[in-house]
């Protein structure tokens, strides 16, 4: 069995001494939304999707950094922004001390030689009409790195040999359609390394490949790193491969980093409830390890209207009072309850409420509920109090009620007031190298 080469020996301490290659500070990538015709005519801004929202990361030479998260967490956008493929709307990315967020295409182009990308789908990242010789050598032509055809061929041959496509002559004239998935990804890697890059951003490089091929490509990437002194940013949703492959790991949720630290430490003792949930959700091929587990409810929220406070609080099983509870969470709570009740009972309870749409605005910390026809505000309050009573006896505890300060009637409506909240900030935990953005740990507030 092949074991993980040198990276294991070079622990965190060794990494600390190495030079910093890339440093991101408060990096923001917001995408403006166009909105509808009327909004545009009225000159109203339609808002923005905060794909990356205030990220601070440091990448040292020779490091393998894992960006891990679900779709919509902003991990791919972050990786692309690093290479100038998306524009940063705020913050800086320093590559060897120079801020590249301000670079135009002309200044960026020579840099792209040093910063390369490997995409998820090997079938889509090679031009089907280009033979392997042309495709793999393309960067040489673009960056004018060769003076003769002989030199060109020598470099292509060398790159193919490095990625294991040997004998190279067999592949030079082939087209992507003649290659298997794993061979295509090898060709893509050959193209990525041919211009002698420093940094490789690999966006889910193995997720489209078969189980028995994944290990081969990961091994190849480790070999290339060792031989060519590469630094990797490994973007993935697969915690298992990240655990094996990365030195440091950044867990992302809705555009923010929620946990960041040395891989071994993060996996040995995950701190953020989201990291814990992700780890618990991985199906293990060993049935003796599979245990009944509490699954996280809901799905990653709409990035255009992120939850108040900590974005993760609506799904968090251990959320506290100050995590950002708001009117939308009350609606979520009621809808979840009604889904579980028999339809007739759910209908009866639903009738207590008038229009629930008032509860779908974002950022409302004082929810005013209109009672349904034939009901008073007092009926609604009585119902809500009963729910709170029931919840206090149930296990696991419903964290929602921690966020409710008061419930009272006002002007014929039932008003539910929520605790004021703070956005958790990434904060280094004492006696560790792990940073966590979560109110469960002291020091993360505002």
């Amino acid at each position: 069995m092949l074991t993980k080469p040198d990276t294991e020996a070079s622990g965190v301490v060794a990494l600390d001494d190495r030079e910093t290659l890339v440093e991101m500070q408060d990096l923001e990538v917001h995408f403006g939304m166009r909105g509808n015709v009327f909004g545009r005519l009225a000159g109203k801004a339609a808002g923005a999707v905060k794909a990356v929202d205030g990220v601070n990361l440091k990448l040292r030479k020779g490091e393998v950094l894992g960006l891990v998260g679900e779709s919509g967490s902003g991990k791919t956008t972050l990786g692309r922004t690093l290479l100038g493929m998306n524009r940063a709307t705020g913050g800086t990315i320093r590559y060897r001390g120079e801020d590249i967020t301000e670079f135009g295409e002309r200044k960026m182009r020579p840099l792209r030689r040093k910063l390369q990308m490997v995409f998820q789908d090997p079938h889509a990242s090679l031009n089907p009409a280009m033979d392997i010789r042309t495709a793999v050598g393309h960067p040489l032509r673009i960056h004018n790195l060769v003076s003769s055809d002989a030199e060109y061929d020598a470099k292509v041959t060398d790159a193919l040999e490095r990625v294991g496509l040997t004998p190279p002559e067999r592949y030079l004239t082939k087209f992507p359609g003649d290659l298997s998935g794993g061979q295509k990804q090898r060709a893509v890697l050959a193209r990525a390394i041919i211009a002698e890059p420093e940094l490789l951003v690999a966006d889910e490089p193995i997720s489209m490949l078969d189980m028995s091929v994944r290990a081969k490509i990961l091994q190849l990437m480790l070999d290339l790193k060792r031989d060519l002194d590469l630094t990797y940013v490994y973007v993935t949703h697969d915690l298992a491969s990240a655990k094996f492959f990365c030195d440091t790991i950044a867990i992302m949720y809705l555009g923010r980093i929620v946990e960041y630290g040395p891989t071994a430490e993060v996996f040995a003792d995950p701190k953020h409830p989201y990291t814990k949930a992700l780890l618990a959700a991985i199906p293990e091929p060993d049935p003796t390890l599979a245990v009944e587990r509490e699954l996280l409810r809901g799905e990653i929220p709409d990035a255009a209207k992120p939850p108040l406070g900590c974005s993760f609080h609506p799904r968090c099983p251990v959320a506290l009072a100050g995590c950002g509870w708001e009117a939308r969470d009350l609606r979520g709570l009621l809808e979840r309850r009604w889904l579980e009740l028999p339809p007739a009972e759910a209908g009866k309870e639903r009738a207590l409420f008038g229009d629930l749409d008032a509860l779908s605005e974002s950022g409302v910390t004082s929810a005013a509920v209109t009672p349904g026809r034939g009901h008073s505000a007092e009926d609604v309050l009585e119902y809500l109090r009963r729910l709170r009573e029931e919840a206090s006896a149930a296990e696991p505890r419903e964290p929602f009620w921690r966020g409710v300060i008061t419930m009272h009637a006002e002007g014929g409506r039932a008003v539910v007031e929520f605790s004021p909240s703070q956005d958790p900030r990434l904060n280094l935990l004492p006696e560790t190298d792990v940073q966590v953005a979560c109110h469960l740990y002291p020091g993360s507030g505002g």
Partner: protein, 353 residues
């Protein structure tokens, strides 16, 4: 033991190509009992999806299908689905047979409301139901999958990927089929949503009496959601048995290698299977895995291995186990047949998948 809902015997699905027939499924036999979940695992191109489709009579028209697929459900009445007229099969789809597809994003009609999807499915098979009854049954099925009734009139694009997959499952379940094939139902989904869907599928057997064939390349999912597992390689089932038993104690060399090469949280070193799966137009002689098998013998490359039932109840198609069960079988390998096969060393990296 209860009678199987579905009993497949020596099923073959071959595709005609210019180079000759592709033997995508080549003599496969298995049973699925009521309420049981069978996991079908293998790499791309091993024929697992073709098998899933073939069982439901959905193999493409260019394919030739041979063998027996006996359906013992209410509507199936012990008939062989292979060779059943299209009209008869159509009647079975829904009330007896169901299919859950891989990509929830593309399988719902974007121009139809969720309600219309359900009404169409229910109306086709239950002409006697009134509009209200249709609605009630549909909403009940959706509720079981965690989709609130208030979303009943929404369009597919208004739902997330995970919700769409749950709608697809509800749509397959609304007619209470006795037998469902789920073809990679979680492949396009996120880890957490995937876990939710697996839980729903695992709960199916508790809440309904539905039998399920779960096709996947993710061994973790099988370990978690399946009672039994069948491992496919190059158009054959090479090992099948109780999921716990097979994962704890894999017998066939391919199963062992596949489990070893899977990257999981407990992975400390990378392992992979040399070579690539064979061309199914000209599959290797003898055992199809022999060119990549670390314990292959000379005879393995010449004589096809028999299926043996091991004391644990696991079926394995491998000469190693056959000889273990009955040493006299070694004679079939001929003289020198038990000498190790050195073929594995000759595979260069370039031939890999």
């Amino acid at each position: 033991m209860t009678e199987p809902v579905l009993s497949v015997r020596d099923l073959r699905v071959w595709y005609g190509t210019e180079r000759g027939p592709v033997r995508a499924v080549d003599g496969v036999s298995f049973d699925v009992r009521p309420g049981e979940t069978l996991g079908l695992v293998g790499e791309s191109g091993c024929g697992k999806s073709t098998l899933g489709r073939g069982v439901l009579g959905l193999a493409p028209t260019v394919a030739s299908v041979d063998g027996e697929v006996i359906l013992n459900s209410k509507g199936g009445k012990g008939r062989n689905l292979v060779g059943l007229p299209a009209k008869e099969l159509q009647k079975l789809r829904g009330p007896d047979l169901g299919l859950i597809f891989q990509e929830p994003m593309t399988r719902l009609n974007p121009l139809m409301r969720i309600s219309q999807h359900f009404e169409e499915a229910l109306h086709t098979h239950h002409k006697d139901l009134s509009k209200n009854e249709l609605r009630e049954r549909a909403i009940e099925a959706l509720r079981g999958m965690g989709i609130p009734a208030s979303r009943y009139e929404s369009y597919p694009h208004e739902f997330s990927g995970g919700m769409r997959q749950r709608i697809m499952i509800a749509l397959a379940l609304v007619l209470r089929p006795a037998f469902i094939v789920a073809d990679e139902p979680t492949t396009a989904l996120d880890v957490l949503v995937e876990a939710q869907i697996i839980k729903i599928l695992a709960d199916l057997r508790k809440n309904f009496d539905t039998s399920l064939v779960l096709i996947t390349h993710n061994l973790g999912i099988v370990a978690e959601a399946c009672d039994r597992v069948a491992v496919m390689y190059a158009g054959h089932i090479v090992e099948q048995g109780d999921a716990r038993e097979v994962f704890a104690n894999p017998q066939h060399p391919y199963t062992k290698e596949l489990l070893r090469s899977t990257i999981s949280l407990s992975t400390t070193g990378l392992h992979f299977i040399p070579g690539s799966p064979p061309d199914l137009v000209h599959p290797p002689e003898g055992c199809r895995f022999s060119p990549r098998c670390p314990v292959a013998m000379q005879g393995c490359a010449k004589v096809e291995p028999p299926e043996v039932v091991l004391p644990s109840g696991v079926h394995s198609v491998c000469w190693q186990q056959a000889i273990e069960v009955d040493p006299s079988m070694a004679d079939e390998l001929g003289t020198g047949g038990r000498e190790p096969l050195a073929a594995v060393k000759e595979i260069s990296v370039a031939d890999e998948a």
